[in-house]
Amino acid sequence: MFLNSVVLVLQEALEAALLISVLLVFSKHYQIKPRWVLVAIGLGTLGALIFALNMASVSEWFDYVGQEVINALIQLSILFLLVLLVLPLSINNPFKKPRANMLKSNFWIMAFMVLIVSLAITREGSEIFIYIGGVINQPSYVQPTLAGSGIGAGIGISAGVLIYYGLLGLPRNKVTVIGLCLLSLVGGNMASQAVLLLTQADWLPYSQILWDSGSQIPENSVIGHLLYALVGYEATPSLFQFSGYLFGVSMILIFWLLGKLISAPSTMALDAENTSY
């Protein structure tokens, strides 16, 4: 029970830790106080608790596939919010002279970050609550489960801290590029998982399996788990799942470029203003 709890909680915590640490790096560069993360964790924990308490009823919606549909909806909402987030991130260049509208823009960046993290925690955390809720009535399981869950969460948080300081240690221009790449992978992962869930619910038709890398990197290996948390690794992805992944990644990159295009004239005007002084 102990080892099982470590693996189960670590798996869920790693995904959230990666997302939170990347967003914290962005918020630091945009001079947004990190307090938002506490609000997001609080809201996410509350959301996870409510979701876990209602999981039995939710699962029976839509002819017993409500769980898949609601989880897919959460994942697609996270992708949508990530797309909305990269737009102001791209328009505002934190390394240039601050502009009057930057404060307003930073509010939206912070709001989107709060929503993204709280939705991610709602989804990941509900499973942990259900798991712990199940063993709490079995006295012999309580101690190993809680200890294992604590250690799993601890390793996940440590990984998040490592990613955070690892990213902060990079040169300024590389931080943005790598941070953006990581966000786009999270976006791709969200879309791919949503497609998988909707296929599981029979809301999307079956599509052929593109490859099988299970013998090289099994999904249940340590590397498999790490890759799943980091890039949404699947050993046997379907055509629709892979298309969903590419769609998620490209939406984030397209909206980043769109932001750059929108900000280009004003940045040029700002540069001209600066040089005239």
């Binding site: 699962s59 596939v65 499973e127 038709p205 079956y206």
Partner: protein, 118 residues
Amino acid sequence: MIFKQACKLPVTVITFLGIALVSHYALAATPVIEIKIQNHLFLPETIEIPANTKVKLLINNLDPTAEEFESYELNREKVISGNRKAVIFIGPLPPGEYPFFGEFYPKTAQGKVVVIEP
């Protein structure tokens, strides 16, 4: 010219998806396989399904605690609350063995789907 062709693309994609969805739902009724979860065990532990056929797994959790059906080989994952039912669609699959387990009680909750040529 290029613009006109570009405009036609979404229509073609939507038509293709429409045909795919209609043909998907027009297929014959999906076979249902029932599995029970009792004392953190899957009953039966082994289920046989025909190859290249979509199957609906109806899982009835008779335990008071929740369990999570998980299979890396089937690419499926679902929490099943205590004393509740759940539905998971699998396949169409090529012949072979596809293990699954209960993520909350993996030591005892083990099973496999055996896909056989009809």
